[in-house]
């Protein structure tokens, strides 16, 4: 039997093994440094068993114990988790923390390397003196000074008067463009912008004449809006009667019957939802993977001409005729947010997709929203704090103002007869000058003689801004507005057919359920403390016990939530935390307060004799004794009540007794401190007549 026990000890607990192993690895390093000494180090290691298996039992690098010295020098703040008694758990937490910090550091490094690569590609305008203004630079100058591939971005497409591009949309990767043109908007074209090819042209009039197909019928059917679906292979068109889906070759593949008279369209790529808002003010979400309409909301605000999405939380922003901007999710029948933004109809909304540009910025992407109204104002809003605008300014020129943020946070504004582009940091900085409405400094301006200008869209991953005007479509070069470094796994302008198919399947597999759309996208994967507290995981469940002992609250801090219901959970049914709490063994010290922790320990060590009194400290005990026999009537009342009966009256009386106790204590303290107490006393009008107050 003893032999068995002795044998048991030869296999050591894991923790010990780990220590041995780290020592071993250290020796391995030494071995690498000096090969001559390798023999004695290996022989000196007496643990034969470990050596025999070490070659077969290599731990993967990610699991290997981290070098404590390196982690200490680089991460100054590895928390010690001293408050956790369990050694195993503690070491696990420390290990996890070190791993995480390593990972984030590596990711940052990689990202910086990638950015430095991309920095060569990024477009910019560098001025040499303060007198040189970037907005003076014309498109011709830009085209003349850059060469090669970039010049292809500057294009002028002329369709004829009144037949210019009305609405357009880029595909996710910025390679394809779909736009509405023609007389009255009867022609929808999908083009491969980078390749310079036309994918298809759908003539809504001609279609009605030729085929008389259901969708295109109705004569003079004008397209109101158009959007690509997941990629260039499908696009949806909001026509007079319904929304129709066409494929890449312009063949009508779907007619969405339950969206009637749509005005605006958008597509939520991660949720595969087609969002449409109709003339009657209905907002409908259609799941394009199944074809079902998952939600229809009545906005009750009439026809809606403005719809945009926040790409970072998939919330839909609608701008209404009465100047309201409403934010919608498919899960709420009412707008999540409604603000009165303009004195007059809202003409355009855009949400900033960038996080402020620079690395390490604290802004979350999608924080700022820009709105333009028919009252000639542009306003910038903070989506986290809707109280008032961040900045607003008036635009000159007649007509509807259109605006859009670029990927890098540049704001393009279409007003009157020109396109204006503004800088990122100045747009969102609150203006503190004397006049409340001043435009941010202009970055670039480009006049277009063909009024009215109808729409503008920044091309993703490129420095191109496409503008639709009365006579056609012109694209201009705006240096620096595009993200230079695209991510092939998300959107790749140069992907081949196979990669596109692959991405489509992957995207379908990763489709996010629409009920996860909320204003705060970081909600996913977070610990829901609100739900936990609502489900009643208070630390003390026995109501009577907790109510009687106010000292509990002192001892366990604010974590203790006293349940007011009179449930009597037996000890054996309690959770471990509750048991510990009831026994007074709960550790409520956090990870941050190490110093406090040690204090508490010292104090407890000091009065170890008072442990039989339910863990009360000596001070508390003396207090308890002193209070005995005072305030008789209430106490008597309490005594007469049975202790485990909980009703509001008893609770009130108990609260009162406690309050009085507190007051008495405070008074006593004041008396003790003397002078300090007098100062805090409220002054009365008669105090001035007191002796010594004349000074």
């Amino acid at each position: 039997m003893d032999a068995l026990i002795a044998r048991a000890d030869t296999i050591r607990p894991l923790s010990e093994l780990k220590v041995v192993k780290t020592r071993d690895s250290g020796k391995g390093k030494a071995k690498a440094n000096s090969k001559g000494k390798s023999k004695d180090t290996s022989t000196s290691n007496s643990d034969y068993t470990l050596q025999s298996i070490s070659s077969h039992a290599n731990v993967p690098k990610s699991l290997a114990p981290l070098d404590p010295s390196s982690s200490k020098s680089k991460n100054d703040e590895v928390p010690k988790y001293n408050h956790i008694a369990n050694k195993k758990l503690r070491s696990q937490l420390v290990h996890q923390h070190a791993l995480n910090s390593n990972l984030s550091k590596n990711a940052l490094e990689t990202q910086q390397n990638l950015l430095s690569l991309a920095a060569d590609d990024a477009g910019s305008i560098q001025v040499t003196g303060p007198l040189e203004k970037t907005w003076r630079i014309s498109q011709d100058e830009i085209v003349a000074s850059v060469g090669g591939e970039a010049v292809k971005g500057r294009r002028e497409l002329t369709f004829g008067p009144g037949q210019g591009a009305k609405r357009m949309k880029w595909s996710q990767n910025g390679r394809h463009l779909v736009f509405i043109s023609g007389k009255g908007g009867t022609k929808v074209s999908s083009v491969d912008w980078m390749g310079g090819n036309v994918n298809c042209e759908v003539d809504l009039l001609a279609g009605s004449n030729l085929a008389g197909a259901g969708g295109n019928g109705g004569g003079g059917e004008a397209a109101r809006d158009v959007t690509f679906l997941q990629d260039q292979s499908f696009f949806a068109v909001a026509q007079k009667r319904n929304v129709f889906v066409y494929d890449r070759d312009g063949v009508e593949v779907h007619r969405l019957n339950n969206i009637i008279d749509p005005l605006r369209l958008d597509f939520l790529p991660w949720h595969w939802l087609l969002v449409a808002v109709t003339n009657s003010g209905h907002l409908s979400y259609t799941d394009t993977t199944t074809g079902t309409q998952i939600a229809v909301h009545r906005t009750k605000l009439g026809a809606c001409n403005t719809l945009t999405q926040n790409r970072h939380n998939a919330v839909v922003h609608l701008g209404h005729q009465n100047g309201c901007v409403t934010l919608w999710t498919p899960n709420l029948p009412k707008p999540a947010v409604q603000i009165l933004s303009h004195m007059g109809p809202v003409t355009s909304i855009s949400v900033n997709p960038s996080d402020g540009g620079s690395a390490g910025s604290v802004n979350m992407p999608g924080r700022y929203m820009a709105t333009a109204g028919r009252d000639g104002k542009i306003k910038i809003w903070d989506c986290r704090n809707w109280k008032g605008v961040v900045r607003e300014w008036a635009v000159r020129g007649a007509g509807d103002v259109e605006l859009e943020w670029s990927q890098k946070g540049y704001l393009g504004v279409l007003s009157g007869g020109s396109v204006n582009v503004y800088h990122p940091p100045h747009i969102v900085t609150p203006y503190t000058g004397s006049s409340s409405s001043s435009a941010p400094p202009l970055y670039l301006s480009h006049p277009i003689p063909h009024k009215p200008l109808q729409c503008l869209r920044f091309e993703p991953f490129s420095d191109v801004l496409a503008v639709g005007h009365n006579k056609g479509l012109s694209s201009i070069l705006v240096p620096g507005v595009g993200e230079p470094q695209f991510d092939s796994l998300e959107a790749d302008p140069f992907e081949n057919a196979k990669a596109r198919r692959e991405r489509e399947v992957k995207g379908l597999l990763d489709k996010i359920q629409p009920d996860l759309i909320t204003l705060d996208p970081s909600m996913v994967g977070k610990f829901d403390s609100a739900a936990l507290s609502a489900s009643g995981s208070s630390l003390v469940a026995t109501a009577a016990q907790s109510l009687l002992d106010k000292s509990d609250k002192v001892k366990w801090g604010a974590n203790v939530q006293v349940k007011n219901v009179g449930v009597d959970v037996p000890f054996s049914r309690m959770k471990r935390v509750e048991r510990l709490a009831v026994q007074g063994k709960l550790d409520t010290t956090g990870a941050g307060d190490d110093s406090e922790d040690s204090d508490v320990e010292m104090k407890e060590g000091g009065d170890g004799d008072s442990d039989d009194e339910g863990g009360l400290t000596r001070e508390e005990m003396s207090k308890k004794r002193k209070m005995r026999g005072k305030n008789k009537s209430l106490k008597r009342y309490l005594r007469k009540q049975r202790k485990n009966v909980v009703d509001p009256q008893v609770l009130a009386v108990r609260a009162k007794v406690d309050r009085m106790r507190e007051e008495a204590k405070a008074k006593k303290l004041q008396m003790k401190t003397g002078g300090a107490g007098e100062e805090t006393k409220r002054k009365s009008a008669l105090d001035r007549f007191k002796a010594g107050s004349g000074k």
């Binding site: 032999a3 990638l114 591939e149 240096p479 993200e483 695209f486 302008p493 996010i512």
Partner: protein
Amino acid sequence: MVKISVLQHNPALHVPIRPGDPTPVQRNLNPSMHPFAKARERTRALNAAKLDKIFSKPFVDSLEGHIDAVEVLTKPLESLTTVASGSWDGGLILHNLHTRSEMLKLPQAHKGKISGLCFADPKGSRLLSCGVDRNVRLWKVGTGDGEDDSGASSQEPLHVYPWKTSFNSIDHHRSDPLFATASSTVQIWDETKSAPVSNLTFPTSNETVSSVRFNLAEPSVLASVGSDRTFTLYDIRTGKAERRVVMQFRSNALAWSPTLPTMALLASEDHNLYTFDVRHMAAPVQIYKGHVAAVMSCEWAPTGVEFVSGGWDRTVRIWSSREAGGKEKGPGGREVVYHTKRMQRVTSTIYSSDARYVLSGSDDGNVRIWKAKASDKLGVITARERASMEYRESLVKRWSVDKDVGRVMRTRHLPKSVYKAGQLKHTMLEARRVKDERRRKHTRAGEQKPVAEKKKTVITEQS
């Protein structure tokens, strides 16, 4: 002079240089480039959990051949494929798991039930069997591994050890030519002698011993469980019983951990499994609850982290032992339950030597092969597939606290009878608990204290 540069991509950099080259990939790790990264990962985790459920088809095959219920299964230490099974009709079959064929079939190895089987050497060339016909027989079996010095197995036993009482269990010493049998007493036999060399029974014990096992690390120590509800430890060097504990219920089977030498696992009649550290026998280390009828057999995996148990409730369950380093009990934090429509009471369960399969012998006369991990893929796995499986696994692990992922992992289907029995058992235990609570409430405070479940298990410890 103003310096102007405009972003331009070189298309040549984004297509493969030569046909057949991989397409160049460009990355940007900026979180704003990856909206909903977390939500998408959660979706992937949910899909991974569902896939895991879809792929979990644990039943591999059943080995037929016995006429009556299979009573015992055993495997040699150093063979991956050889398994011997003994049945109630006295039949003994040597199975080859690889070809799923019978290497040896002895329809009448014993008269009546074969109650114990074990291999006499690690290679598995000699097999010891004992039965209720009061005989222990030593068989020569060919492992069929090719190295046939005398590969042919014979239909006649090499040796017969007759005795006065019927036997319940047998186990061979790891290195010496000794074996232990369990009948009303625990006896040590020498292979070369026809009578037991020593009798190790505890002085006061006169009950039936149902199972006896040698310790794997210290082979002179052995343990037994018996119908007198005891768990007894013996040492053949001192030649006597060292100590024992009397428990509330009798245990049916016993297994020593292969990695923790002091850890023993008991399959108890009270539907639970207990692990005991023999250094501290006053209370079990852990209680494993889950079976809804008596547990008939148990066996550790060769890794020492998991163990398998078979029960009277017609289920095979695979547990992960946390004290041996297992992470959780299984998907969703519970044990894994295997069952089929036709499987009857499970009387014996073993792990295969590579810990990838579990074998169960049941009352319906079949030996069934199960995967130890239900969603394992058999056959060749490419590196890409392996990587994606590992990714899925880590995703599920990472998101297991998520409500939906956790629910998918937790959900399991049980046969109606087992489910109902579980419910009934829960009701009864709950009623008992409530009664205890009430009784405690109405006694003077502090007089009756609730006893921890582990403390209740052991009645007394004797040595």
